[in-house]
Symmetry: C2
Amino acid sequence: MAKKHAETDALTVEELICFALYSANHAMNKAYKPHLTALGLTYPQYITLTALWDRDGITVGALCDRLLMETSTITPILKRLEAQGHVERKRGKEDERQVFVHLTASGRALEAKAPEITACIIDDTGVPQAKLEKLVQDISAMRDSLERVD
Amino acid sequence: MAKKHAETDALTVEELICFALYSANHAMNKAYKPHLTALGLTYPQYITLTALWDRDGITVGALCDRLLMETSTITPILKRLEAQGHVERKRGKEDERQVFVHLTASGRALEAKAPEITACIIDDTGVPQAKLEKLVQDISAMRDSLERVD
DNA sequence: TACGTTTATATCGTGTGCGATATTAATGAC
DNA sequence: GTCATTAATATCGCACACGATATAAACGTA
């Protein structure tokens, strides 16, 4: 049985939703690591590629919106993906401020590895498919609520 | 209705549990930021303090175990907390390899701020208490399963 | 006691992440 | 058309986060 707290008591770190997310995110990163190291990718690089596999040739800004990240985070990741030959960046013709990100053959080829990695990770979570889909929905809804605040 | 995928299709980034955790963790960090900036703390520093409020005077290693982090991450955080005067580090007497971390009056005083911050964040999640507690349990269970793998 | 091994913590290099700022291009008011 | 403003992306400084390595203390075995 869980320990009871009075209203004024601070919660234990393990009882905080922030720590649950914080530590689960690190654990997920760690679970992906062996799969991604084999491909020469980091976790954020892989997530960036996943967004591009679904929607290629979008602008840096659109990619930031999709991943909920700042340009100061995405730009260096794209530079490393470009250095590895997985993406190309092209200035827009009509609007030269925009930069469009395109997958190369190499970057597109990595997509074929994703389903097996995903299957491994899903297995590692120990959560059955149906429950996992619900969990993704609940966590995403919470994230969206947090995003709306500021 | 959600888009259907064949078994061989890759999932959209939004459908991946890894992205749900990744983005929710960033959103949580962002939600805490104004509260913590007012105290001169960062998010990892606050989480570290939360662990110490519950169990003070433990070793660096025990703190790493509790937070599921590496010593290479915790040591610099402790150095910054020490520089701010919130904690003190003392070498063990019997075993001089160990370093014990103790809260100062300043570090202990911050605990009083925690309940109100927690209440704000819980409100920001938009998730009712009971459901949030279940969510914490589900996410923690998944994290523990992921940790057991490697 | 000497010395190889293990243990606890710290340091270093690389890659995020973000806020603040810079840079360059497009836009708008006149 | 000029110039202030806005918009899209990049750069910089600071703080994680971790793997690899270093350091120093404790331990084990001969």
